[in-house]
C-alpha cells in the first residue's frame, strides 16, 4: 500500500505538464518542441511498429457513432487532450505522437475489425480504446494475436488479465467493496436492493456485492433485478423497492435506461435525500442526461470526480474545458481515458523502447504522479492501484466528495471468495 499521492507535485514532469496544459496558447508563440532528438529508431523499435525518427503512431478506437457514442465521446476527448499535452511537453522518447482515430460504431465486431486494421495495417504502437466489456472482449483476441498494447479506460467486471492490456479503470472489487463498507457503516445499512442492466458487468458486480453484503457485512439482499439494455419502464421494480423498503438501493443500470430509472424513481416519490442509493454506473457524464434534480442526493462509488480538490485535478479540469468547451463534464471513465496515453508514455520511457513486449514487462510499477485522481501505479496484474471514493450527487450535476479510502486499493481481478 502506498500513500504518497502528493509527492509528485514538484517533479520536473509536472512542470512540463503545466507548461503543456495550462499554457497551451503560449505553445504557438514559443518555438515548437523539436522532435527527433530521441534515441535511434532502430534501437527503440525492433518489431516494425509505426515509429519514425520524429513520430510515433498510436490508435484511438472508440465509438463516435451509434448508441455508445454518448459515453465514449468523453474518453476520446480525454485521450486527445493527453496526447496533445504529451506532445507539447516534448513527446515520447523524442518523438511526436500521431494518432489514428477509428470508429467502433457501437458494434463489437467492428471494434475487432478496426483493432486489427490498426495493428496490422497501421502498425500502431498502442491502442487507446474500447469502452463496453463487449467491445473489449471482441478486441482482446486480436491484440493478443497480433501482440498489440491496449489501454482500456472503463471500470469493468474483472475476471480478466492480459499481458497486452493495461486496465486504467477499476475492476469490480476496487470499485464496490469500499463503497459498501462505507455505506454500511455510515447508514447502518443492513438490507440492500440490487438493480442492474442485464449483461455481464452488472451481474458480476452484483455477485461480488452480494457475497460482500452477506458474508462480510452480515446484511441481507432483499431483491436483485435485471432489466434488458435500453429498457425505459421501471415502475414495477420501483413498487417492489417500496414494498421491500431496503436500507440501500444499489444500482448498476447503464445507458438510456439510467435516465428513465432516475426520472421514474423521482416521480414515484422516492426521495433520495432520505432513501440511500449507491450507484456504480452514474458519472458526471450520465447526470448530464438524467438531470441533476432527478438524482441529487444519490451516492456514487467511483475513483474520480470532477470536483476533486487536488492540485493535479485543478490543472486538468481547466485544460480539458479549454480544449473541449466550458460545458463539458468529466466523469470517472474520461479521467481513466486520460491516464492511458500518459501511462504509455511513462512506460516507454522506463523501458527505453516502443516494443510491446518490453512495455508489457516494464509496466508493473510505473507511477503517474500527475493523475487527476491523485496518484496511480500499475500493478503486476496490469490493473491500477487506485483509491475508492464516494460522492453525493448535487443539483448542478457535480458530486460532492463524501469519503475516500485512506490507502490505494490493490486491484484483484480474480477475487478469492467472491466468485
Amino acid at each position: 500500500m502506498s500513500d504518497e499521492p502528493n509527492k509528485g507535485l514538484q517533479s520536473p514532469l509536472r512542470r512540463k505538464l503545466l507548461m503543456g496544459a495550462a499554457a497551451l496558447p503560449l505553445v504557438s508563440i514559443l518555438p515548437r518542441p523539436s522532435f527527433g532528438a530521441g534515441p535511434a529508431t532502430a534501437t527503440v523499435n525492433t518489431t516494425g511498429l509505426a515509429v519514425t525518427d520524429t513520430e510515433v503512431t498510436v490508435g484511438i478506437l472508440h465509438s463516435a457513432t451509434g448508441t455508445m457514442a454518448i459515453s465514449e465521446t468523453g474518453s476520446i476527448q480525454a485521450e486527445k487532450l493527453a496526447i496533445e499535452q504529451i506532445n507539447a511537453a516534448g513527446g515520447v522518447l523524442g518523438r511526436k505522437i500521431k494518432f489514428i482515430q477509428e470508429d467502433g460504431a457501437s458494434d463489437w465486431p467492428t471494434f475487432a475489425e478496426k483493432a486489427k486494421k490498426l495493428l496490422v495495417n497501421d502498425k500502431v504502437a498502442a491502442i487507446m480504446g474500447c469502452w463496453t466489456s463487449a467491445s473489449r472482449k471482441a478486441v482482446l483476441p486480436v491484440v493478443e494475436q497480433y501482440n498489440g498494447m491496449l489501454y482500456y479506460p472503463t471500470f469493468y467486471e474483472g475476471l480478466e488479465q492480459s499481458k497486452n492490456v493495461i486496465y486504467t479503470g477499476q475492476e469490480a472489487t476496487q470499485q464496490i467493496l469500499a463503497g459498501l463498507n462505507w455505506i454500511a457503516k455510515e447508514k447502518g445499512a443492513k438490507s440492500f436492493f440490487f438493480i442492474g442492466s442485464d449483461y455481464i458487468w452488472p451481474r458480476t458486480s452484483n455477485k461480488i456485492a452480494r457475497k460482500h453484503v452477506e458474508n462480510v457485512l452480515k446484511g441481507k439482499v432483499v431483491g436483485e433485478e435485471y432489466y434488458a439494455l435500453g429498457s425505459t419502464q421501471f415502475n414495477s421494480v420501483i413498487n417492489k423497492i417500496k414494498l421491500t423498503k431496503p436500507d440501500v438501493i444499489f444500482t448498476d443500470v447503464v445507458g438510456g435506461s439510467n435516465v428513465a430509472f432516475y426520472k421514474q424513481l423521482k416521480a414515484a416519490g422516492v426521495d433520495l435525500s432520505k432513501q440511500a442509493l449507491l450507484t456504480i454506473s452514474v458519472t458526471e457524464d450520465e447526470i448530464d442526461g438524467i438531470g441533476g434534480e432527478n438524482i441529487a442526493g444519490a451516492y456514487a462509488c467511483m475513483k474520480y470526480f470532477q470536483s476533486l480538490d487536488n492540485a493535479n485535478n485543478k490543472t486538468f479540469v481547466p485544460a480539458f474545458k479549454k480544449m473541449w468547451g466550458e460545458k463539458t463534464v468529466i466523469g470517472d471513465v474520461t479521467q481513466a481515458g486520460y491516464l492511458g496515453p500518459w501511462l504509455w508514455k511513462l512506460t516507454c520511457e522506463k523501458a527505453g523502447s516502443f516494443d510491446v513486449d518490453k512495455i508489457a514487462a516494464a509496466s508493473p510499477g510505473v507511477e503517474f504522479k500527475e493523475a487527476p485522481e491523485g496518484y496511480v501505479r500499475i500493478h503486476e496484474n496490469h490493473h491500477l492501484w487506485s483509491k475508492t471514493r464516494v460522492g453525493r450527487a448535487k443539483l448542478d450535476g457535480q458530486f460532492e466528495l463524501i469519503f475516500e479510502t485512506a490507502d490505494l486499493i490493490e486491484p484483484d481481478p480474480f477475487p478469492k471468495g467472491y466468485q
Binding site: 454518448i70 435500453g230 425505459t232 419502464q233 414495477s236 435516465v259 457524464d285 438524467i290
Partner: protein, 308 residues
C-alpha cells in the same frame, strides 16, 4: 414473498402496481398510435417513427431552454407549448417527407420501408451533428415531478397521470377525427378506393399528406411526453421502436381498436410478470407469448382483412 406484509400494505402495492400497468399501457398506446395511423390508413410502414419522436423530444428540450433564459416566470407552463411545437415540428417534417419521398412510392409499399429506414439513419446523424452525441436532460417544471399521495401508502407518480391523460385525450381526438369528421371520411374513402375517391372530387394527395403529417405529429407529441420518463439522445428513438412495432403487429395494425387492445394486453402481461418474476425475465416471457400468438394468429388480434 408476501408472508411478511400486512393486508393493507399488500393492497396498496397492488393498487400501485395496477397504476404501473396503466402507465405502461398509456406509454405503449402513445408510441404506437402514430405508427398505427400511418400504417392502417396508408399501408406505409414508417421506420423513422422513433426519430420523429426524438424530434419532438429535442423541440421540448429547446423550448425549456428558451423559457429558462427568457421567460423564467412562465416556466411552469412551458410543457404545453412544447408539446404543441413538437406536434407542429414533427408534423411539418412528416409532410415534407411525404412530399419528397413517400408519395413516389405508394405503389411499392415495401420500398417505403427501406426509404424511411434510410431517412431514420440520416435523421439520427443529423441530431448527432446538431445536438451532440450526448443525451440532453430536459428540465421539467416543479409541479410535474413527484407523486400524488392518495392514501398514506398509495402514491401515484404525477407524470404517469399526465401521460395517461394525454393518451386518453389524443386517442379520443384521433378517433373523432378519423371516424366522425369530414376529413376523416375522406381519409377512409381514400383507403377504401383511391381511384373512386379521386373521381368524386377528394384531393387524395392532400389527404395522404395530412394523414402522414398527423401520424408524425402524434409521434412528436409522444416524444415530447417521454422526456418526462426517458432519455433524449440521437439514438433514443431506437429504444422505443421495438416495443412500438410489437404493439402494432400484435394489434393487427389495421384498426385503432386493435392497437389499443394489443397495448393493453402486452402492458398488463409485462407489468404483472415484472412484479412476480424480474425485469428481463418478464420481457422474455412477454415476447415469447407474443411470438406464440403471432404464429397461431399471424394477422394480429384485430385484423379484419389482411391480404396484401
Amino acid at each position: 414473498m408476501f408472508g411478511d406484509y400486512s393486508i393493507g400494505e399488500l393492497g396498496s402495492i397492488f393498487v400501485m402496481q395496477g397504476f404501473a400497468g396503466l402507465i405502461l399501457f398509456s406509454v405503449y398506446v402513445l408510441m404506437a398510435l402514430g405508427l398505427a395511423i400511418i400504417f392502417g390508413q396508408m399501408g406505409v410502414i414508417n421506420m423513422a417513427h422513433g426519430e420523429f419522436m426524438i424530434l419532438g423530444a429535442y423541440v421540448t428540450w429547446m423550448t425549456s431552454n428558451l423559457f429558462q433564459s427568457y421567460l423564467p416566470g412562465l416556466f411552469s407552463g412551458y410543457f404545453f407549448l412544447a408539446m404543441m411545437l413538437a406536434f407542429l415540428a414533427s408534423g411539418a417534417l412528416g409532410m415534407l417527407v411525404e412530399w419528397g419521398l413517400i408519395r413516389h412510392l405508394y405503389k411499392r409499399p415495401l420500398d417505403t420501408l427501406l426509404a424511411t429506414w434510410g431517412l431514420s439513419l440520416i435523421l439520427q446523424q443529423a441530431y448527432r451533428s446538431v445536438f451532440g452525441a450526448r443525451e440532453v436532460g430536459v428540465e421539467l417544471p416543479q409541479w410535474m415531478l413527484g407523486s400524488l399521495k392518495v392514501t398514506d401508502s398509495i402514491e401515484v407518480p404525477i407524470n404517469g397521470i399526465f401521460v395517461m391523460g394525454l393518451t386518453v385525450s389524443i386517442t379520443c381526438a384521433v378517433a373523432y377525427v378519423i371516424y366522425k369528421s369530414r376529413w376523416g371520411r375522406q381519409v377512409r374513402a381514400v383507403v377504401q378506393n383511391r381511384i373512386m375517391a379521386g373521381a368524386v372530387g377528394i384531393n387524395t394527395e392532400k389527404v395522404d399528406r395530412y394523414t402522414f403529417g398527423l401520424g408524425c405529429g402524434i409521434a412528436g407529441v409522444a416524444g415530447s411526453a417521454f422526456t418526462m420518463i426517458g432519455s433524449t439522445g440521437p439514438t433514443s428513438g431506437q429504444l422505443y421502436i421495438v416495443d412500438t412495432f410489437l404493439v402494432v403487429v400484435f394489434g393487427g395494425a389495421a384498426s385503432l381498436l386493435g392497437t389499443i387492445a394489443s397495448a393493453f394486453s402486452i402492458s398488463q402481461t409485462q407489468s404483472t410478470l415484472e412484479f412476480f418474476t424480474s425485469g428481463s425475465m418478464a420481457k422474455v416471457l412477454t415476447l415469447l407469448a407474443v411470438v406464440g400468438i403471432l404464429m397461431l394468429r399471424p394477422q394480429g388480434l384485430f385484423a379484419l382483412k389482411v391480404r396484401k
